[in-house]
Every structure is written in C-alpha cells, then in structure tokens.
C-alpha cells in the first residue's frame, strides 16, 4: 500500500449558523479509488468544493502530500494536481471536442498571455489531445461541437479534459448522475480505465457503481463522517444503515 496523498483534518464549513461540513477527517491513499457517499444534504459536494478551493474552509486543514492547500485559490490547487469534474457536465459547448481537450492541455504552456501569436501555434498539442480522446473512445467525435454531444459523451469529454492536466488526484463529482444504464456502464468502465496508476476521489449516489469500482468508501451524514472503510465494512455499519434507511428501519 502506498502513502496518503490527501489528508484532511477537522475540515469545517459554515454558512452563517448552518454548518454544512463539520470537523471532517479524511485520508485518501495514493493509487486508490475512494468514494464519498451519503444521503442528500450530507455535505459531499461541499466537501468537494472545499477540497478544490471552490469554497474557502471556515476552519481545518487540507494537505496534498506535505503541502497545505486549504486557503489556496481554485486555479492554484488545480495547478498543483487536484483537478475536478462537475456534477452537471462542465464543458466549453462552442469549442469542438478536440479544442476542449486542447484547451486543458494549453494550461501547461509556460504562458498563455501571448496575444500576438496565432492560435495555430496550439496545433502542437493536437496529437496529445487526440490520444486522450482515443483513450476515452471519443476519437470519432473530435470535430463535433461539444455542445452537440450526447450526454454520456459529454461526461467522458469532461473526464478527458480533466485527465489532460495529468492530475495527481482526479475528483469526480457524481460522474454517473442523470445517466441511463448503458451510459453508466460505459462511464464506469472509463473510470476504471483512467484510474490505473492514478488516485481518484468520487462523490457517487449509485451504490452498485461504488461497490464495483471503489477501494475505500467514506460515508457522510449531516456534514460529518459516520463511517469509513471498504464497501463491505461500511454497508454493515449500523450508523450507515440508519442514515440511509432511517432509524426505524435499522
């Protein structure tokens, strides 16, 4: 087993009197697929937003390896290798599929303030962008306007743009939400494929997907961690059963 890549200690987020995330501790092990699950309103997406700097933490500390990243801006955290996808697929609809991936690759250039240079200079990134699209079975769609892609393919494209940054940790926010069974199978396979040699943290509602895909699961309820372990361990946990089914069914 490898070491911890992300460690979160006492992470708290308040919105006025409402505490959305309350003293969360979390350890993500390098090379594993880690799921964060919990009933609606448990604070999963807020946790995601805190980890990626989309929201500032009220208190607590987030470390990426030995570096404290809580307090950094979203783009700084992304450049350090923590890159996310969104619950509602977030692409650049007017760009072609290839340009979407190339735009992500473009970020790694030493500067992007070169307004005097032709965008033809970006063509050197096309081979790498195409390779990523092929990896995610999107090669044949490369010239399509991204906004015209079917829903499942949009999610795959978003994963491709995220991978383009060669992230240390890939954060996927409900990657199968709103999908039919066929698309769920496709995206699950993609995640399994891209997770090889990478660390993945995902928020997911679909428990069969979590069971089939994830090495470790953290369960949140009302902003707190109530269980953590393998899927089998947490699924037998009394607190988890209560949180999902209600105390009367437990």
């Amino acid at each position: 087993m490898q070491g911890t890549i992300i460690s979160v200690r006492r992470m708290t987020k308040s919105f006025g009197a409402f505490v959305a995330v309350n003293g969360v501790d979390l350890d993500i092990v390098e090379g594993e697929i880690h799921a964060m699950i919990g009933p609606n309103g448990a604070g999963k997406t807020t946790c995601f937003n805190l980890l990626t700097g989309s929201l500032p933490v009220t208190s607590g500390e987030i470390r990426l390896r030995d570096t404290v990243i809580s307090g950094l801006t979203m783009d700084e955290i992304a450049r350090r290798g923590l890159v996310r996808s969104y619950q509602i697929s977030s692409i650049f609809p007017d760009f072609t599929v290839l340009h979407n991936v190339r735009f992500a690759l473009q970020q790694k250039r030493p500067t992007n303030f070169d307004f005097w240079r032709s965008e033809l200079s970006l063509r050197s990134l096309d081979d790498r962008a195409m390779a990523l699209l092929e990896e995610l079975n999107l090669g044949e769609w490369s010239a399509t306007r991204a906004g015209d892609l079917p829903y499942g393919h949009k999610r795959a494209l978003e994963i491709a743009t995220t991978l383009a940054l060669d992230p240390q940790v890939l954060l996927l926010d409900e990657p199968t939400s709103g999908m039919g069974r066929e698309d769920i199978g496709r995206v699950t396979e993609l995640i399994r494929k891209v997770a090889t040699g990478r660390t993945v943290l995902m928020v997911e509602h679909n428990l069969p997907v979590v069971e089939g895909l994830c090495d470790r699961v953290t369960v949140l309820a009302r902003g707190q961690v109530i269980a953590s372990g393998t899927y089998d361990e947490v699924s037998k946990n009394q607190k988890v059963i209560e949180a999902y089914l209600g105390a009367e069914h437990a």
Partner: protein
C-alpha cells in the same frame, strides 16, 4: 474559428473577403465622402474594437470606457501641444496613459462581475470626468486645442487631410488585423473559454482574473490609441471625449454592429456616426430617431448586423 480555414492575415475566407471589401471601400470612399468624417469613423472603429475585446470576447460590460478614451486624448494632446513632442511620442503617451489607467480600473473592477462590474467602471469613469474638469492641464471646458499634427517619423508632413487620411487608413487596417490576431491567439482562446465557462476554466488551472485584467488593459490601451489619433486628426481633446456620452456610443456601436464579431465594430461605428452626421440638420429630433433605430436593432437583430449576416451565411453554406 476553424483553424483549417485560415487563409489570409489570420482571417478565415469569409472574413478575408470582408477585409478586402473594407480595404476597397477605404480606398474609394474619400473620393465620394468627406475624408474628415471618414477619419472620425475610423478612430471610432478602433475604439469600438477595443470595447469589443472586452465585452464581446471577455464578457465584461464596462460603462466607463470614456475614461480611457479621454485619458488618451488629453495625454496625447498635452504631449503634442504643450510639450511639443512628435506625433509618435504623443500617440504613445496617450496609449500608455490609458493602459495605466486601465490597469488601475481593471484591478479594482474585476473583483466583481456583471452589473456590479459595470457600475464600478461607471463610477470610476465619472470620477475621472470630475478630475478632468478640475485639473488645470486639461483646459477645463475649453479642452486642449490647436494640437499640431506634426509629421510621421519626421518624414511625412501630416498637416494635409489627404496625407493623414492615408496614414489613418493603413493604421485602421493594421488594427483590424491586430484585433483579429488577439481574438485568435492562445490568449484569445483563453478569453473565449473563460467568457463561456469561467468556473471550468478555473478548475483547469487558469487564473481567470489575470486574463480578465490583461484583456482590460489591452482594451484600455487600444481605446487610448484611438483617442490619440482622434486628437491628432482634429487638433483637440475635450470633455466630450471623457464624458458618459462617449461610453454609451461605444456600447451602442457594438450592439448595432454585433458583439463578439470581428467586423461588428466596423459596421456599428459607421451606423452610429452616420446617424449623428447625416441627421444633424434635424437638431434635437436626432435623439428621437436614434432611439427608434436602436430599439429596432435590438428587437430585430439581437446579434447585431454582422452577427445576423454570419447566421444567414451559416444557413446558406
């Protein structure tokens, strides 16, 4: 833009045709229309291109661009008329002063977006107007007058309207190529992406605010450049340059021509200034006619004239 279509000077084929038509118009028009009016339009086109960069490609609506236009006009006028420096230095002074002011305004304003951004720029521009009215070097209500045209590189005397027209024509075509290049550069690519989806651009590691600031400064500099040329051509810098009316006119020219299109500022500037020029004999009725025209444009062509034309072309091709 599909890069495979790039044909000429960075323009796609249809835009290269539009550019060639414009160049032909520029060559022929001074024999038919009043050259001084044409030069006024050309200066305004450059100003409108500057504004288009910000609104059309960065998605930031400024109500304070008159501050940069005014700063450029005054500093260029002061450098040429009071300090007696040559044409090139004066234009450079006007451009750089506007860029510097843009850096300050942008640094303050980009912390907010949408209506709040627009209101901050409006407030800052109104403050700049007040300062221009108070400080002695601007000449108050009189402005800076009798700004000499000087000569180009000490070789070409610009005092003749014909000579300065051809210089201005070359500058305008150069600015249009430059404007197109900015939009279709790696930097422009980031602007277009952040305009559509800033959150995703941030999550991909782009410091969106720095790109917005850079766009703001470039836009301000280009506005200052346009104002400097106007000051040299007309020999004066006045409070009108820095007033709210100028800010409104540049917004309208973009709306009418087509926001976020390469040639929208060209068409929009021609329409706006022609309305002013040709309806001048009708006195106060001009405002009413202008109001009706703008309302019609907004109702019938939401994408502006060029935007509508592009849509039609896409349907036909």
């Amino acid at each position: 833009m599909q890069e495979d279509e790039v044909q000429f000077l960075g323009f796609t084929k249809p835009r290269a045709v539009a550019f060639a038509l414009l160049a032909a118009f520029i060559v022929v028009s001074p024999f038919v229309l009043y050259p001084v009016f044409l030069m006024k339009v050309y200066c305004f086109i450059i100003f409108a291109c500057a504004y288009n960069l910000l609104l059309g490609y960065t998605g930031l609506m400024s109500f304070g661009h008159s501050a940069f236009f005014g700063a450029g006009a005054y500093l260029c006028g002061y450098t040429a008329a009071r300090l007696g420096l040559p044409f090139e230095i004066s234009v450079l002074a006007g451009t750089l002063s506007a860029a510097l002011l843009g850096l300050v305004f942008g640094w303050i304003a980009i912390r907010r977006s949408g209506l709040y951004f627009a209101m901050i720029t409006l407030a800052l521009a109104q403050m700049t107007y007040f300062i221009a009215l108070q400080v002695p070097f601007t000449g108050g209500e009189d402005g800076i007058q009798q700004v000499p045209r000087g000569s180009l590189l000490g070789l070409v005397d610009l005092s003749s309207d014909t000579t300065i027209y051809w210089v201005m024509a070359v500058i305008l075509l150069g600015v249009l190529v430059f404007h197109n290049r900015i939009v279709h550069s790696p930097f422009g690519q980031v602007l277009r992406a952040t305009r559509k989806n800033p959150e995703r651009a941030r999550s991909l590691g782009y410091n969106v605010d720095r790109f917005k600031l850079m766009s703001f400064v470039l836009s301000a500099a280009l506005a200052g450049f346009a104002a400097s040329l106007k000051t040299i051509i007309f020999g004066l810098a006045t409070l009108t340059d820095i007033s709210m009316v100028t800010s409104i006119e540049v917004v309208l020219s973009n709306l009418v021509g087509g926001i976020g299109t390469i040639f929208g500022p060209v068409v929009g500037s021609f329409v706006i200034l022609s309305l002013e020029y040709y309806l001048a004999p009708y006195g106060p009725w001009v405002l009413l006619i202008q109001g009706l025209v703008f309302t019609l444009f907004v109702l019938l062509f939401r994408q502006g004239i060029v935007g509508k034309l592009q849509e039609k072309l896409r349907t036909l091709l």
